[in-house]
Symmetry: C2
Subunit: 431 residues, 2 copies
Amino acid sequence: MKHIKVGILGFGTVGAGVADCLLKNRVVISRRIGVDIELTGIGDLDTTSDRGVSIPSGILTDETESVIAKSDIVVELIGGTTVSRKFILSALKQGKAVVTANKALLADYGPELFAAAEAGGGTICYEASVGGGIPIIKALREGFVGNRINRIYGILNGTCNYILTRMEREGLGFEEVLKDAQRLGYAEANPSLDIDGFDTAHKAVILASLAYGGWHTTDEIYVQGIRDVSLLDIRFAEDLGYKIKLLGIIKQNADFRTEVRVHPTLIPAHAPLAGISDVFNGVMVNGDFVGDTLFYGRGAGRAATASAVVSDIADAALNLAQGIQQRIPAYRKSVESSGMVSMDEIVTGYYLRMLVDDRPGVLAQVASILSNRKISVSRLVQPDDSDKDGRVTIVAVTHETRESEMQAAVNDLEHIDAMYGKVCVLRMEEI
Amino acid sequence: MKHIKVGILGFGTVGAGVADCLLKNRVVISRRIGVDIELTGIGDLDTTSDRGVSIPSGILTDETESVIAKSDIVVELIGGTTVSRKFILSALKQGKAVVTANKALLADYGPELFAAAEAGGGTICYEASVGGGIPIIKALREGFVGNRINRIYGILNGTCNYILTRMEREGLGFEEVLKDAQRLGYAEANPSLDIDGFDTAHKAVILASLAYGGWHTTDEIYVQGIRDVSLLDIRFAEDLGYKIKLLGIIKQNADFRTEVRVHPTLIPAHAPLAGISDVFNGVMVNGDFVGDTLFYGRGAGRAATASAVVSDIADAALNLAQGIQQRIPAYRKSVESSGMVSMDEIVTGYYLRMLVDDRPGVLAQVASILSNRKISVSRLVQPDDSDKDGRVTIVAVTHETRESEMQAAVNDLEHIDAMYGKVCVLRMEEI
């Protein structure tokens, strides 16, 4: 049986999970794939802390380059985009197979890393970068290889889904749940990467590349997080038959142009994706032959991420054992898309919430502004009585509208005398 | 670019879907995998009927062996276990790569086919045999390669799920929905393969082999279909917070023995699997690292099945282009299981429904029989008033009980004077 040596860079939570998995399930993995995978090195500056996994003596070292040199497969689990990039480029230059879970690095430097892999004769695998334990990258690249991808909707960030789920279930406000999530370790001390949607955007960039080739940067796509989602909107959405989820949305239109965007989205409460709660991730893929499919699982955490990393290690080990640089191109430079749809051009349903003076004619004024912009309203409701200051909330739900028209209408609305503050605008998808 | 020739045997519904997919998406597939896949032959006795797909002239023939001879990859979509077996064995003897969606053939002749592939230097792929368009076989074999599989619960038959969904939603009886399903083409004229659970059993055999190696036959496993599921049970289950689904259940116990069984099962109404309705399939896999995952999609039909078949064709084409007989063994002869758990030994929760005389003491008698057999009852209810003949229904829900104890208790119950007919016994899973 062929024998492949694996080195892990970064002995943190996921690194410990990967070591645990490789050690615990080594025999069963080798029986399944016919290749023996041995963990031969772990590089980390901290060589003394207990990570709760018993590793063979002599393999943990702070000399990371030596781990790279003696491994066939290098697993980067350091995170960040500086040290991790340096070590990955070093490994690729040496022709190693690299496995990484680092979505931020991929989103920012994907094409550079793929080029380095090609030049060095190695490869780069990244199943764990999207959807944690869900094998969504393999599904898109291999399982749905026969399909044109029409659209992908992904709940891709466990922290955001956890916060939205608790707000909805317990009737708590965003800040309160965020604090509790931080206390419980479900959110970082600096939560911006998650709650402002950037982590979801990194993953959306990767999924878009798998679906249509090429590589977009996160700067090119619209990203809105969940910081401004209020309990009020969650409750109104519920009354309308919807749930609010932070979605990564990737679509190809009839003219083969691509849409990639990240924002809180109202989706029908009965949609399978709406049932995905807590820290779980879910990805819905629609292909021209397969139709609608859904994948669901733990999107983060030590063990689930380890499962995805080890599937990449097994793939890379099979390639090495069979003398193949890579089975399927890690990414396609050529783009099966005739360009990006700008945010102004997107067409979707909208949910608008506004606070206005409770006096006759205001509802009609709102309706008239929307109508003047040719926006078709499906529901216009005033859910509650006026507050102590004589103001009422109005909620409008629209049929499909162009974003630029909606922004113009919102600007009009925010200029009427009866309006207090900003209009809350959320987009809807009838998935 | 390497060029691979594909021949399809059987130009029925799925055959036409595969031809359509290969023709329509040839360019996008070749760009993704770097191999050009050409449909070069279709063998079918009927060379004249219109299948709604426009194929190049000269490739449809009734000389099936000539299609096999000139193809690199042979796609068997004839169905049945006689002619299909003959052609597959012929192709494998010639060292061809074979792709099939034929679960009945695999379940009955799997090891023979795998041995023929090995002997001939070819391979056999069968992604479309389970879960239609859902890439569940790739997920189990590659995506979860690092996991010990703890359990798999599958809604694997679209016809049964459609019937149970309509019974539940529309309050109709089994026979009525079955007739309508036959009229609409969702059930066969002879529906036994589907509704008596055998199709689900074929798929469970395949999933069990992927999880634990070896190959069980359907004779070795307990198979019960949905013919005896009554609307009454669906309603009582609902009141108790459950839904009834036909499940293929595959588990490995703490002593590494394997359980494989197929039967209608009460599962919690809030479980993600309970939300899978109509003709959709869903498979829940729990691995020791990945935890719970769920896959959902169309379990049958021309286009969804074609998607899975084409993913196998792409895999086989990559193997051929890269000079590999097969990347991962199509099946593992050795078994990672210390034997099967017999049906008598299984331990699960039970739902019992019985019709008894409405007189004092009967409920106590039922409770006492269950108690004498050391069966712990979680709920014992008499949901309705007595009927015109003075009989009432009693429903009992038990905690985990051994099947042999339950069968003995049911025998005791059926012998008390107050009992009418058989006790309806359904098993429960707290997934």
